[in-house]
């Protein structure tokens, strides 16, 4: 089993929205950042992986096993963090331990308590009194304390301050030290993914625009800055979106294919996302 997660031609139609032929491959030992606008289909894709909704067609394999037929077996090895804490807020962290111990076969209470200490989460305070950051940390502690091999995070870092986000990213990087592990993280905070991710997958209007290694992406794309006249002379085949303003043109281009003497800045993941989604090629 080399791939932790494989989606092949997965389709799901809703009234007014459709997830088209989703293909994603996440090799073990890697972190994949799953980016896209709100409503692009990130959560829907994650729900399909977790078998929370029924797919119309296609194939999903987790740890090399078909996800519906092996539903419960697979879930023992997945840790999930959604965009909010899903425990009733009258519970406290030590209650969470008791509940999870009775749900996961491999629940590791000492590991859970050590995460609580590390995140400075109080044991007896009810979740109601937690801040948003604390709630997310509790969910992450819960997701990491049953020896999961795959961590799936749906917008888990959005709404958190940079300090907490950084702390959480460190935990993911630690988790990924084990070669058998993998992380699939959906987010619209692209800077986080720039720090941590090995692969970036961009989804737009229910379709995957690309799913590539981050280094290749950053290597491949550049932001060209030139005058409108210069822009006209460039082959539009290598342009993936542009922004025009009074000072000239900014365009996302394939760096290596560009001939001539131009100013090309390196593109961030955010640039790539914005240009690919919003920029027009004219």
């Amino acid at each position: 089993m080399e791939n932790v997660l494989e989606l092949k031609n997965v389709t799901k139609a809703y009234d007014g929205f459709m997830l088209h032929d989703i293909n994603i491959i996440l090799p073990k030992g890697c972190i994949m950042g799953f980016i896209g606008e709100n409503g692009a289909g990130k959560s829907t894709t994650i729900k399909l992986i977790l078998n929370l909704i029924h797919r119309d067609s296609g194939e999903i394999k987790v740890f090399g096993k078909e996800n519906i037929a092996n539903n419960l077996e697979i879930k023992e090895d997945i840790g999930v963090v959604f965009d909010e804490s899903n425990f009733p807020d009258t519970m406290n962290a030590s209650d969470v331990n008791v509940v999870m111990k009775n749900i996961y076969k491999k629940w590791d209470a000492p590991a859970f308590f050590s995460y609580l200490t590390r995140f400075s989460l109080p044991l007896k305070k009810s979740i109601k009194e937690y801040s948003r950051g604390m709630k997310m940390k509790l969910s992450i502690a819960a997701a990491l304390s049953h020896h999961a091999k795959l961590l799936i995070l749906d917008e888990a870092t959005s709404g958190l301050d940079p300090v907490v986000r950084d702390e959480i990213l460190d935990v993911f990087l630690e988790f990924i030290q084990d070669e058998e592990h993998a992380v699939f993280i959906s987010s619209h905070i692209t800077s986080d993914l720039e720090k941590a991710a090995d692969y970036i997958t961009l989804i737009h209007n229910g379709q995957i625009l690309f799913s590539e290694s981050k280094d290749e992406l950053l290597d491949e794309y550049g932001v060209l800055k030139c005058s409108a006249a210069d822009y006209e002379s460039i082959d539009k085949e290598i342009v993936f979106g542009c922004r025009k303003n009074t000072f000239g043109v900014e365009a996302l281009i394939k760096r290596k294919a560009l001939r001539g003497d131009y100013i090309v800045d390196s593109a961030s993941i955010e640039d790539i996302m914005l240009f690919r989604i919003k920029g027009e090629v004219k």
Binding site: K47, L50, N51, L52, I53, H54, N71, L72, E73, K75, E76, I78, V80, F82, E84, S85, N86, F87, P88, D89, T90, M91, D95, V98, V99, M100, K101, N102, I103, Y104, K105, I152
Partner: protein
Amino acid sequence: MKGLIIKDLFALRKQGKMILMIAVFYTIFSVFTKNISMLGAMIALLCTMMPITTMSFDEYCKWDRYALAMPVSGKTIVLSKYVLGLLLTLAGLVVISAASIGIVIITGEMPVSDALFTCFCIGVISLALQSVLLPILFKFGVEKGRFLLLPVFLIPAAVIFLLSKLGFTLPDAQTLKMLAYLSPAAVVPLIILSVFISIGIYSKKEF
């Protein structure tokens, strides 16, 4: 399953204190009024409502989605609500039986055997109500399902009222007692049917 029920009990902890206070209040109340039926009815109503309360907590914090992302099947989630209802009803019965015995000994309102019979009837009714309510709540969710609770309570009352208006005399006490003893034979299949309906409804849900 065990984890889910423990979670529900944790979530209900606050309610537990309130129930205790209500129970104490109605116990005192029933001693003074020499009428245990209020105490029984209140406890039965609370026990019936408990699984529903946990479902509204679940809805609020999107627990089901989270639980289904864990090694928990939809079937287990559905069953856990029935088991919780059964456990709470049994616990409630133990409490009201004990309280009723104590009260009727003090007040002499009725023989102990009659008091226990009343408790037994309350238990059966509570389970029957849960069997009707749970599929409705699984189907419509607690928010919308709540509005359907009233008809569920009112329709049987209305039917009995109408029947008596139309000249049907209620069966005499002896027959009613017979029916009550036979009622578990009807409630058990009702619960089983209800479980299957709920599982069917739940498997079609998307989260």
